[in-house]
């Protein structure tokens, strides 16, 4: 029987490498099968209703989940084989180097055990009086050589054992389990632990250009492995292509929807609320799976913590001629994902109707924590809301728009950022900070203030700042100019004002008598660079002293 020493010397990892390639090839086929199933099977059947749909849809959904889980598992197995092959090959190289170094110094190495002995000439010189002088040094060096050989054998054994344990983490019977996708997250974590590998190489995310460059230089298989093992980190990296982020976040969404093990850090109500939000998002994403190019959805970020966060794009923002980002306001959470996606669809549709040959991508950006207040409650006082969350969100928004530019590379999309309600405060804070949002246009609708005194403070030509204000918008009428910035309706703000024919605080994307409202059409026109219908700004002097302040406790002016 061969010893470990002999096995390592003779080791041929080409079988392992071939097996790794075979699993990667299988992973690619499963990736294609999963995507095809989404686009060509479940996608077109999103509107399938009735008894047969009730029976058939869960079967198709399960099959789709199994394809996704199998894809992740094939990538995990390829990673285990690759890591084992690389580590064992490294151990073999270390062993050969140790042998070479010892032999150069005339030491004798046993072919069976790898035992290092003193040079023969030194042993033969036992009558030489000098031998006693040099013997301690040679003995010490011999121990060093032996340690290196032993370490190489130990490393090879560890690589083999780790690989065996990690392969055991990928469970063959997984596909029979209901929470298979949730289990893939556990598998990925355990595999990483047993292989002693972490999210090495993933940039810290701060530099969006560095993120984009890093991703560009990975092979397709490497990208797929990062997505399978670290979907949360990859899905959140601003600067990465929308397609990659979407793939990572959809896997994350499926893992969140099949938690394994259940999260005991939150109570049942919080858990149910999170799951409701995630399901609402999933339903909307699934319904668009068969959508034609330009109306496909990309999930650009996902978090389940708290009220949940999501960034969803309709159309690919990396390649679109026009890109718009819509930032929602108070009381937004994942459960309202359906309504937000309808709004971005209405904006996209409005832009496309008048520019049918231009691609327009519209993004719903909920990646901050808006105040959770019922703005329609008569007791609600926006004055108590500070600019704190807007500033925090504004920074994240700025990073996102920088990332969108980085992902676009040389292609410069006409970028419009739209803020609604407290979302406009967030847009204002983001634009006013750093070097601004890098947007070509900024729109604020239903705005209680944009944290600044003047549109010129938003790091953009004020001619490209547009304000939409419904006459009966209670948020504007009660809170504009209070604690969140000056009143954007006023001529002193210095922006352009487009015609609004809708009513209330939430109607800016409404259809009136079956037609897109002027409020909506004007936003579509701004996104595509078309002329808008305008309305004069308000002259605050005309109103001064005439309007009683209904909220005397709310400090007026800018903080």
């Amino acid at each position: 029987m061969s010893t470990l020493y002999q096995l390592l010397l003779k080791l041929d990892v080409s079988d392992l490498e071939a097996a790794k390639s075979a699993w990667e090839s299988l992973a690619r086929k499963l990736e294609t099968a999963h995507k095809d199933h989404r686009r060509h099977v479940t996608g077109p059947l999103a509107n399938w209703h009735g008894d047969s749909a009730k029976a058939g849809k869960p079967v198709l959904d399960t099959l789709q989940g199994q394809l996704e889980a199998a894809h992740v598992d094939a990538l995990l197995i390829a990673t285990v084989l690759d890591t084992a092959a690389v580590n064992m090959k490294q151990a073999q190289t270390d062993l050969k180097n140790a042998i070479k170094s010892a032999e150069q110094d005339d030491y004798v190495i046993d072919d069976t055990t790898g035992q290092v002995s003193l040079p023969q000439w030194l042993i033969d010189a036992h009558h030489d009086p000098d031998q006693a002088t040099v013997l301690p040094d040679y003995t010490k060096a011999m121990t060093g050589h032996q340690d290196k050989i032993n370490q190489a054998i130990k490393d090879a054994k560890k690589a083999s054992d780790d690989g065996e344990k990690a392969i055991g983490d990928v469970r063959a019977q997984l596909l029979d389990e209901e929470d298979a996708l949730g289990q893939t997250a556990v598998e990925a974590r355990d595999v990483a632990k047993h292989l002693g590998i972490g999210p090495y190489g993933i940039p810290d995310g701060k530099d969006v250009k560095e993120n984009a460059e890093w991703w560009k230089h990975l092979s397709h298989d490497e990208q797929q492995t990062y997505i399978a093992m670290y979907p949360k980190q990859i899905g959140a990296l601003d600067g990465l292509p929308a397609v990659a982020r979407d793939e990572a976040n959809r896997l994350l969404l499926d893992q969140y929807l099949n938690p394994a093990p259940p999260d005991h850090t939150i109570n049942a109500d919080q858990f149910n609320k999170q799951q409701d939000g995630l399901r609402a998002l999933k339903k909307k994403l699934d319904a668009a799976d068969g959508a034609p190019k330009g109306r496909e959805l990309y999930l650009l970020k996902l978090r389940q913590e708290g009220d949940g966060r999501a960034i969803v794009a309709m159309g690919n923002p990396d390649t679109a001629k026009n890109t718009a980002v819509l930032v929602p306001g108070v009381n937004s959470d994942l459960r309202g994902a359906g309504g937000e996606i309808d709004r971005i669809n209405a904006l996209r549709s409005s832009a496309r109707k008048i520019h049918p040959n231009e691609s327009t991508a519209v993004i719903s950006w909920l990646d901050y924590d808006p105040p959770n207040e019922n703005v329609f409650d008569s007791d609600f006082d926006l004055g108590v809301v500070s600019t704190g969350r807007a500033k925090e969100g504004g920074e994240a928004l700025r990073h996102f728009t920088e990332g969108t530019r980085a992902a676009q590379g040389g292609h410069h999309s006409n970028l419009t950022v739209i803020g609604h309600s407290y979302g406009s405060t967030t847009v204002g804070a983001g634009a006013a900070g750093g070097h601004g949002l890098g947007a070509d246009n900024i729109i604020a609708v239903g705005s209680p203030g944009m944290t600044v005194k003047h549109a010129g403070d938003l790091n953009i030509d004020p001619k490209h700042v547009f304000i939409g204000a419904a006459k009966d918008d209670p948020i504007i009428n009660n809170f504009a100019g209070a604690s969140l910035g000056s009143d954007t309706r006023n001529d002193t703000f210095g922006a352009r004002h487009f015609k609004v024919d809708t009513s209330g605080h939430s109607g800016y994307w409404d259809y009136i008598n079956g037609q897109p409202s002027e409020s909506l059409t004007n936003q579509g026109r701004i996104i595509t660079g078309e002329p808008i219908t305008t309305t004069p700004a308000r002259n605050p002097d005309r109103y001064s002293g005439n309007i009683p302040n209904p909220f005397p406790n709310v400090p007026q002016g800018i903080k």
Binding site: R295, G339, N345, K353, H355, P356, S506, D510, Q515, P516
Partner: protein
């Protein structure tokens, strides 16, 4: 988006499948294109189904929807105003009420014509569309009222 249940929020909604609604819209656009003597061009129509929302953005939990359908006709800009006149007459003859009508002379040379049906029916929004740097096409938009597919249960709002 549409205002769900403006008349009475729990009135029964018109029932039509999404496929059927698209068929109707396709037929409408062909007929309107015929009025101006041009075919609907080969670009794939843009079809979106949105949820019906309430005045304060409330979303219904059932399967109610609004369809927005756009198709395009290629027609030189100098013929847009004449096309608007023909379409207006046809729509009025068929009982539609014109809700918006605007025509612009050169250099802006373009038009907008919007109409609503006498009773229940689809809304029509026609306007000049820009391609190749000028208004070389007319977009015909067909928008449905808030509807619900056959077999789906209408939830009280």
């Amino acid at each position: 988006m549409s205002e769900a249940g403006e008349k009475g929020k729990n009135d029964p909604l018109p029932r039509m499948s999404k496929e059927h609604a698209q068929d109707w819209a396709r037929d409408f656009t062909k007929r309107l294109a015929k009025v101006i003597g041009k075919p609907v061009n080969s670009r794939q129509p843009d079809v979106s189904f949105l949820g019906c929302t309430g005045k304060n953005g409330e979303e219904a939990t059932d399967d109610r929807y609004v369809m927005m359908y756009s198709a395009w006709v290629t027609i030189p800009p100098e013929q847009h105003n004449e096309a608007a006149k023909k379409l207006r007459k046809t729509l009025v003859d068929q009982g539609y009420t014109i809700t918006t009508e605007r025509t612009y002379k050169p250099p802006k040379q373009s038009m907008i014509l919007e109409a609503r049906p006498a009773k229940e029916g689809f809304f029509i929004g026609i306007e000049s569309a820009k391609t190749n740097g000028g208004y070389q096409e007319i977009a015909i938009g067909i928008n449905s009222p808030c509807m619900i597919p056959p077999g789906a249960t209408q939830s009280p709002q």
